[in-house]
Symmetry: D2
Subunit: 146 residues, 4 copies
């Protein structure tokens, strides 16, 4: 599912944009696009770490509340083509994680953005990794970055 | 509806955060928060300009597709308190409009962000103002900024 | 906020339909309408019982999972008028609760529907009322029905 | 992708339920489930008719506004398993179309429901088929019903 211009080993999540996502301007509603990117990051966790956000919270009692996001919308998104979202773990701080997400349709970048979250205990929201194993796994995934 | 610390003449849009907005971490889902801010900007148009996004598009054939947004999440949002979103038109370029939105609950900033859109014709997405009157109205609203 | 044709003491929840709720047919997306009705039922709990779904779950450890809903869509919903949702507790079984919701815009019924949920413990999903007080309060609200 | 107990030639649409779909009860939010079913019906149009709702509206100027839906929720939906939605065109009136959708996770029915819409011209919302070809195609798909 890699698109031209991206190294083929990056994680790409395909989203079927539908009627439900579009507004009267006949394009995906702006408020829907951060949801597409977050959905791709959740899929990245499921595939790369082997634990999606639900299991991370419920089974591992770890949360990742977001503290920042920024997005540039390069071109409108429509249901005409699948939306391929490339997700990279671009930075790993002591407890912060930065994801870069680029969305493409039909070979054209539609959006790109950065999403920063913090690893916390799901019980008390205190920053930290409940599991050293998850942290180690994340470090190994940094090598995927461009 | 002005909150302490904001000049009282700024536009403030109150949102009732509900169960539907929350995820298993018992806070408003990250992907919902840009929607809150955009909803507040749409309410600003309705109240300050007198034309909401729907009427702008359908009646005036003007669109305002977004090209950028950035948000900092300062503190979790829950259904415990109303969410007061202050909206300011912070910058007006030739065809671009920048909004600043600050969300507060119980006197505490929960998020702040910037949202940049472009005035276009709804017919062909070309940048520009179909109506000089709307542009003039927007200019007069710039004086509201901090 | 009572509309013509409804006894004035019924609970009515006003919703501002926005651009974000509409699809390319320029009407509120079908999938959004059950959300409007559920939002009105949550508002009914907050106002009539004094406990919204979030507090019911988090503070009282009671849940109300839905087992059924049916809706008839009488007329399209648009951002042109506020959407007034009348909510009635129409039936109270041993553990089931049935709500009737009627949505009106500009004096015309847009949708009507029935929503059946079951009182459960939030800890183990077992049917029942964790609090006799809540049950008693609900019984008193049955008198509001048509 | 057919599940045990369904004839293998029925259309089945797989949905990845995520964190974003869940509420603090750790199950998919009720208001999200009609959206799952509608998303499956849109996917049915794309696959079986070869025209999704977006193309139907924009290219063929045909709309299918819904006039009724009813759903029974048999069991909670979570991100633990993919959600397989079987879609059948169960009835075809002069201008009405009835879909039956059954959602399963891990071999268990989670919801079942009926969704009735009306074929209309997208220009004036008048009932009818702008294209005899689409009507004929729909008739041929009725044979898929149970």
């Amino acid at each position: 599912m890699a698109e031209a211009g991206e190294p083929s080993d990056l994680f790409v999540h395909a989203i079927t944009v539908q009627w439900a996502d579009c507004d009267p301007a006949r394009i995906a509603y702006t408020g829907q696009i951060p949801k597409f990117a977050l959905s791709a990051i959740d899929a990245w966790w499921a595939e790369r770490v082997g634990i999606d956000w639900f299991a991370l919270n419920v089974d591992h009692r770890m949360g990742t509340p977001f503290v920042h996001l920024d997005m540039d919308f390069r071109s409108p998104i429509t249901p005409r083509h699948p939306l391929f979202c490339t997700v990279m773990l671009s930075k790993l701080g002591t407890t912060s994680l930065t994801f870069r997400v680029v969305g493409r349709q039909d070979g054209t970048v539609r959006f790109e953005g950065n999403f920063v979250c913090v690893a916390v205990s799901a019980d008390d929201f205190r920053p930290g990794y409940p599991s050293a194993e998850i942290r180690t796994r994340l470090e190994s995934l940094l090598s995927e970055r461009l």
